[in-house]
Symmetry: C2
């Protein structure tokens, strides 16, 4: 892939991705995203109390709301590695800062991979130096590739919008593809923009965007120790104000939602993207709770994989999470209504089974008791998820 | 199997199990447990708001705390079947009541199998009549077989105790083996005793026993619409009092725990029973919360299946549910310590991998910050769980 993609689509950023040997496979495993100047930055991180060293360090470094460089390594999570793990993360920041000519606090290191293994700092240092030498405005695609773990495809998204007489860009990259659930539902995502927004505004926008994207995503209900969503705003396309703020939030939400859907579609072992939509709930929170329960149900996900329109598992999952009045419930899979007013619809099983063969499967549950609605993104559960997670240890 | 087993081990009960065609396979699918006289009874049921018709009916029938007959069919859950499904459950109760010469309110019908399909009442009626004709004190084994769905082995347990100058017996049967998590963590379990206990005492004892057994069990984190735990006390061995009550609770807890462990070991697709023990928590509730998170983690369960001592997934799972101070944490798998004081233990990976080959795998997490502890029972996650649930629809 060539051209300006993902994190280098917006003005003011360069990126690169190289292989430095952290992955036994020899694939790319180190990405750098660098702003030409120190810029506004915000981050959201895992709520896991067993957070990795780089997560703890990023939280500290983002205290001032600015950053210059993001360094992401795959192949090692640098989590549960004790005091030496934190020293390794700090050393990574110092190394990149020296190359960038900035303070170490302006570097945000992220790690993803197996928990409990220390970083090979010799390889990592060589990787940071190698990647620094390759930074370019065309490096977004390489960076997206270098942050992959069990992902099968790199994930990038870009949106443009016009405001205040200028064209602005928001671009991002993300990786999955297991140990993913809301709060924060992604392992690593980096979003850049050339819009001039203050770090406090950026942080607020990031929270709003995450609420409808990464926090609506579940692969396996497992919360990683390394989940990080970072945003950097260079301001190179000019400042934003008034309606521009709303357009920026829209673009950011769209980029995050596209990345979240791509992560769901590429969930470990997945064959299909599953979009769960709950409508007719008493309120949005209840709808979200029901949608999440359906999206997290191993049984619903197995049924989708098997092409089995087993709507019973959908009401069972929703009913375990919220108060569901079966007599008002309506369930639709792939556009085929299977349950209406609490009564099974007869004679549509074959039609529904055919609809489940599509690459994207929409599941809709209308609770029939209000206007609340919410969407959740997930994937089907296949034998390959088990294979990947039973035998993966690199 | 011959002899008095499971629900017919205690005095005062007969049982049987027959095939009436509800299962396409032709296997036994209808069980009856009958007390010789109307006796004290208690039940605990799923918290799922999409509860099946027989669950709603059992709750109503148990209002007086007495029962005479339990009818369990497998092959059909009679859930989400609308008003006609409830009429079918009521008809089942009337039919059994006629045969037993008791009030329909003294019959407790239970159904387990696929959600959303109506009972074939012609087959079911013939089954109830056929099973009634075969009731015997040696029928406990047949009954345990007839309630199986994806279980590979029937599950029974029996305990005896001496109190108040007499010998008392508590016996039970249970079925799994998917859609199982705490609250209530079993699809169907029936326990009988010849101890003379009042229904209120029986109910309280059942709650205490479930708290340390079925509510400590998770196969896939999915809560069924049909979970029911029923207990009947004939009193034929005499009344209980004083210390006898404690001995009864002990025996009941042991029977329930043995059944719960057997359900975990026979979880859908399972190769191994996994016992998760959390110690050193601030309190028992925190320990239970952490243990449940580890037991519900698809990634931990895949690692056990793959023989991979991936303790990082254990701290990630616990840390996502409770506040875990990694610097104090200690993780042991199969007796091998892998993390101590937040630092990985080097050179024990092979030894730990060997320990994971055992039929029962013990995972211990010492949080290092108190005296709270709790156990949870689960199984490993294999490709077969996916196969069973992607292609099972009978």
């Amino acid at each position: 892939m060539m051209g300006r993609a993902g994190v280098t689509a917006a003005e003011g950023f360069v990126a690169s991705g190289v292989a430095c040997g952290l992955k036994a496979s020899g694939r790319k495993d180190l990405a750098i995203v660098a702003a030409k100047q120190t810029c506004a930055a915000a981050g959201l991180f895992t709520g896991n109390s067993a957070a990795a060293a780089p997560v703890l360090l990023c939280r500290r470094h983002l205290g001032r709301g600015v950053a210059r460089v993001v360094v992401v390594n795959s192949g090692c999570a640098n989590c549960a590695t004790g005091a030496r793990g934190m020293a390794d993360a700090e050393e990574t920041a110092r190394l990149a800062a020296r190359l960038a000519g900035c303070a170490p606090e302006e570097v945000l290191p992220c790690s993803t991979g197996v928990i409990g293994t220390r970083l090979d700092m010799k390889k990592l240092s060589a990787g940071v130096e190698g990647a620094w030498g390759k930074l370019s405005v065309e490096g977004g695609a390489d960076a997206a590739e270098a942050i992959m773990t069990t992902d099968t495809v790199p994930k990038i998204a870009v949106r443009h919008f016009e405001a205040n007489g200028a064209t602005f860009t928001v671009g991002g990259m993300a990786k999955g593809s297991g140990m993913i659930r809301p709060g924060l539902a992604t392992m690593i995502a980096v979003v850049t923009t050339d819009a001039g927004v203050h770090s406090a505004v950026l942080r607020e926008a990031l929270q709003e965007a995450a609420a409808v994207s990464f926090n609506r995503l579940t692969i396996d209900g497992c919360e990683s120790t390394n989940d990080s969503l970072l945003a950097l705003a260079s301001g190179e396309a000019g400042p934003l104000s008034g309606k521009g703020d709303d357009l920026f939030l829209d673009a950011l939400s769209q980029v995050c939602t596209e990345l979240a859907k791509k992560m769901a579609a590429d969930g470990e072992g997945a064959r299909r993207l599953v979009v769960v939509r709950v409508t007719g709930a008493p309120d949005a929170a209840t709808a979200g709770c029901a949608a999440r329960a359906v999206a997290e149900s191993a049984l619903v996900k197995c049924a989708v994989y098997g092409g089995d329109p087993n709507w019973g598992r959908i009401v069972a999952a929703a009913g375990s999470a919220v108060s569901l009045d079966l007599s008002r419930a309506r369930v639709t899979m792939g556009g085929v209504t299977l349950l209406a007013c609490g009564e099974p619809v007869i004679g549509v099983r074959e039609q529904a089974a055919r609809a489940l063969a599509a690459g994207t499967v929409e599941i809709e549950l209308d609770m029939g008791c209000g206007d609340g609605q919410a969407e959740f993104f997930t994937c089907d559960l296949t034998e390959d998820y088990v294979k990947i997670n039973a035998h993966y240890h690199t």
